[in-house]
Symmetry: C2
Subunit: 208 residues, 2 copies
DNA sequence: TATCAATGTAAGTAAGTACTTACACATTAA
DNA sequence: TTAATGTGTAAGTACTTACTTACATTGATA
């Protein structure tokens, strides 16, 4: 609290705001919307509870602010042109790694969205799935281009994108969100390589 | 309430218990543990709130009862021997369909577990992942057998099982849990066929 | 007929919740 | 010096929550 006062007053407002948002997303993601209390958020953020309400007026609006503040678009899009100039397998490994890193970064946001979509679907389904569409389109456009070049066979690129997405999202979901890495962790590098290999070559023996 | 009284008194106790459990899992899954209230659960179940506490003593114990009551093991295991006598592609489609049906059946249980693993990991991580291990082992043992027979090439069967699992779990997760089917539904039959095809043949063009 | 088990009704407790109001304090800009 | 801004402290409101207690009611059974 005293800490905040030492900051330039112009920045003070936004610093306080960010501190509250940072604490809020953490508590919302672990305790759920109802389970997280405004008192605890304020305490952990090191501000008075009334300050929280002065910034966000209500708990519900704080949640909305949290969701829109952390829905950063992944830097995956910028990787696409590079990927097109790499060998297929190498590109897939790179995309997978980048994708997993992104997911870990927005872990809490995903957790919150997952819970909120159940609680008030009308409010959050569109937000979440437009985010997802953007992501899937990155993968799909990559596959479409490689199909044009004749590198890939003629599968549905949108469903292909979903398979690629599934493998790594599910890995992230298990290890990070469902705590498998605390239970029986899986070697990420090994998994990525094997997943990519399966995605490229499939499972069948007698080919080529 | 009057309805319950017409039931044989021997059965009455378990009927009431089940009604409460049925309502509880629905409310826990949509509103979260803190968001669901014992009053609402009792009202929706058509019993007095005090009856709920006479059956389960506390809200926390009700949650535990809910989780253990609905963690039914899927009938997938019994499909395995049949699958081994079917053509590979047909078997995979069958397993996928069965898996998706199972997931839809235990949808609420999965939702609750997903939330509770965040809230109190120590209590629920082991439960969830031992359930998952059992599931993955079914897939893995199938792949292992087909590798022995020389039908499949030599990939890691455990990671192969995770890829197979991922494709369909993620489909379920998106469509059912995250409400994509209300936003832009995907044709399940088509998706299953394409996913299986990709899993068998991979994405690469120049093979065979 | 009397007993017992499962339920209901009703009232209440103690604690917590989101949110408000009123006032004081410090820092900066006019 | 004064005014404005962002914050803290403190008290309080109206409501909800999980859970309890005491007593009445029902239906089957012994």
């Amino acid at each position: 609290m005293a800490i905040v006062r030492k900051v330039k007053p112009v920045e003070r407002f936004s610093v306080t705001r960010e501190r509250i948002l940072d604490t809020a997303i953490g508590l919302f993601s672990t305790k759920g919307y109802s389970g997280a209390t405004t008192r605890e958020i304020a305490q952990q953020a090191g501000v008075a509870e009334v300050t929280l309400f002065r910034h966000f007026t209500s708990k519900e609006k704080l949640l909305e602010a949290v969701i829109s503040h952390y829905s950063a678009i992944p830097g995956l899009k910028s990787f696409l042109p590079k990927a097109l100039e790499m060998p297929y397998e190498e590109a897939l490994v790179g995309m997978a790694d980048m994708f997993l890193d992104t997911l870990v970064q927005i872990k809490d946001w995903i957790r919150v969205m997952h819970a909120e979509v159940q609680r008030s679907p009308d409010k959050f389904i569109a937000i979440y799935h437009s985010f997802l569409d953007e992501l899937l389109e990155i993968f799909a456009s990559y596959f479409r281009e490689l199909q044009k070049r004749g590198v890939l066979r003629n599968f549905d690129p949108d469903l292909g994108a979903r398979v690629f997405h599934s493998m790594f999202y599910c890995f992230f979901n298990m290890e990070e969100l469902l705590g498998r890495k605390k239970y029986r962790p899986t070697d990420r590098t090994k998994a990525v390589r094997e997943f990519v290999s399966l995605f490229i070559r499939g499972t069948l023996a007698t080919q080529g």
